[in-house]
Amino acid sequence: MNLGDTADLLKKELSKANDLDSLKEIETSFLGRNGHINKLLKTLKNAPQDKRKELGISINKLKQETVKLISEKKDLLIEKSNNKKIDITLPGKKYPKGSLNPVTYVIEEISSIFEKIGFIRMSYPEIEWEFFSFEALNMPKDHPARDDFETFFMDFPKHKEYGKMVLTPHTSSGQNREMRRLGKPPIRMINIAKTYRPNWDASHVPMFHQFEGLCIDEKINITHLKGTIEYFVKELFGNDREIRLRPFHFQFTEPSFEVDITCDICNGTGYLDSKKSQKCRLCKQGWLELGGTGMVHPNVLKAGGIDSSKYTGWAFGFGVERVMMMKEGTGINNMRDLYDGDIRVLEQF
């Protein structure tokens, strides 16, 4: 091919190129090691002596022209490619979306809140002897919580020392287990577990979750219980929520309290409007019941082999589902939704 043919071919090829890949091919075929330009240069040595210089200059000119034309075409193609439109409103590729039971998220959050202040999460038997569920918690044989209406019993021979086998009706059976495990204070424990009660109707389920906190040490008093529960409430529910301790009664604590927190729906006023004409249905006049707590009863310490004249402690047991339903934004307000196993409910979380 002579100079003129090469220039014509270049123009023809460039006019056909409509993407960057084909342009790259053209570039190689003209400017590459074995490209048309280099081939022309190789013909130089065969050219007559007097025309060599002139021919050399022409080839060089063609080379520069080629570089320029390719570069111009490249700019054109890049611009064209950039201007290509996509419909950014089309949906993205579909990835699978799974779900976890809402209870899982709350359990994770509770553990992490207590982990930050040095409470270790533990795990204890869910099927227990009466001793750990009751006697060790200062609940005498005739206590109503121990009857058939409040506790599930297993069809199993009695243990000589520990009595009947039960399905734990509360997480508190872990208290004695933890005291035995450690032998002596300090104790900082959180136990989140399944609990069982014979109650199954429109709003109750026979299995649910509780979380138990236990703190035993020298010089632990009511102010520590207040401080720790207040920390928990503010972490979980938000800084603007207040707590109050109300006197209550539990066998395994003395003094015993019930913790209330201010209702977020009515901001603790008990009414939905400023004229106080519409009562808040969620709370009891501004307060929501969180659960039970108190100072560990000396008999409970004793059952765990701890000297109650030297050590004191506090404990609480709250319902996981209750806490979940009290938290803003979950929307679930019936325990059964969590355990009835309807995929259309569960897949939303």
């Binding site: 202040i117 009857d147 599930f152 897949e347």
Partner: protein
Amino acid sequence: MNIKITYSWLLDYLDTDANPYEIQKYLSLSGPSVETVEKIGDEYVFDIEITSNRVDMASVFGIAQEAQAILPQFGKKAKLKINPLEKYSFKKSGLLEKGGDDNLDVEIKGENLCSRFTAIVMNSVDVKESPAKIAKRLELCDIRPLNNVIDISNYLMLSLGQPTHIFDYDKIAGKKMILRESKKGEKIITLDGKKINLPGQDIVIEDGSSNIIDLCGIMGGNNSKVDENTKSILFFVQTYNKKNIRRTSMLTGQRSVAATYFEKGLDTERVEPTLCFGVELLKKETGGQISSKLIDIYPKRPKEKQVRAYLKDIQRVMGVSIEEKKITSILKNLGFKVERFENDELAYPDSVFFDVTVPTFRADDVDIKEDIIEEVARIYGYYKLPSIMSPLVHIKQPKDIEGLFKITQRIKHFLKTLGLHEFMNYSMISGQMIDDLDMKKGGHLKLANTISKEIEYMRISLLPSLIKNNIENKGKKDELKIFEIAKVYKKRENDLPTEKYKLAISADTDFFDLKGILTAIFEELNIKNISYKNGDYNLFSKNKSAVIYSGKEIIGFIGALNEKYIEKFSLKKDLYLAEIDFEFLIKNYSDIASYEEPIKTAIVKLDSTIDMSAINYSDLKRQAFSISKHLINIEIIDSYKNNLTIRFYFADKDKNIEEDAAKKELDSILEKVEK
């Protein structure tokens, strides 16, 4: 239990300047929780929660007594106007004198059924409507007024916290009462017209014609009730063994208001003022006159109880230095007697202590110094105590427990990301499900007192629950992949069952989808050396199940649900199930994968289509690697009928491998496996 009382009724007993809302707020902080105050007309009605240990508070007088101790702490005036416990006694009311010729012959069979039995007969009773004040108060407190006699009985219960019963004296055959335990199967028709089949061991009263006329502590009998024609009444005030009452009430479902009092155990000493006040009201409102002598059977008077509390102990538990005189005034206002002592020889815990005499109405509730501390602390005000974070210490969490929670959280979120849904099922399943799946009930721990056949046996596997989830969600989704992580419970001899965590997954897609999920889990946790061998499970279809091994240890199984169960449960699609020992994952996971140096020399990839009818993939793989020393990986590219297109990767880590050398190695592999 909850009670309702009104503000004006409370003011009968209490002199105070606190308004109803102040009473609500302050009592809730330091005593009984006043859940609501409702203004109805010119009255205010309190709805008050009474804890099970404080039935002594479940009355207008009980609340007045609490208010007397609490309100002054908030700067409010509060003083009891009347103390019925002091005002009334049999002697002061003249009830010890012979009142008339009517008689009642009482026999009590059995000890510990009735801790105090009192009764008195009144004649010339005029049964009519109650005066407006009594009727209105009862109505506001959710008790329907009936007639003056019945209403007084209810009015007494709410005033003083002691239920009473009133019989038509003329309907008691032979004027005789035998208080005894019932026999199973005996019957009574109660006042509300319900026919009750007695469970046995219930406290009942039989009259002279062997009719049961009272289901004690729960409800009177229809056969002896007061009606508009009644002229003579037997006024009846008792305290019973709380255990019998609760049992009867729960077993018969008769949860009467009286039962909620009696089942908590009542103070025998309050019987006396209640009877006196009752006679006073009955005389005034019905015109009745005493016509018998007073019957009072009181086998065991309670002894006075004392509890010692040290000043330092009170301060130690409260976390503040409360003053001595505050302690004594709080306790006295609550009805305790307090004596202060100082003994310098007693250095520990303190030289200052209080001997506190417990009033009889608190005898069941106050036993130890902590009970005294509670009384002082609550009235002082929990709200006044500062909030201090519990001191920080380090307690070591056992490694296996740490791993359990960490891996649980990680796997749950991982499976969610893969598109699976978490289910939380009850730990118990039905006997029917066990039968349906041809499992053995005997292998399961059984509940002795289940409330539903649906939850009778403790799970030994999570799979029955997942199968149930699939049955119940049939047709709701095109594709359903779910999982559960939970404990299973295996029976042991003479011991608690073992409780082991399992991970179970179900997928209604195909076997390899489910197997792929398992592989992804093992890879996520950097667990290697997992292998699958043909399994033989009744639950699964023959030839479509596998045992999962880690080395030689069995760690789980996977398979397609047996066709016969698909048929039995009318499932619309095939179902694939797997269950893995979760503890295996916890013991064997590692956070970071072990490092392998990348091969820097050339890699030759060769594809070959192989007829797999005579060999399975895992054998092929094993053989290929044993024959070729430069094979580094194999991968399935495509499959068609019995043929697999497999890509073989060859490399020599010391030098670039020649394509011919790789081909030669592939040929020797193919020669072996295609034979």
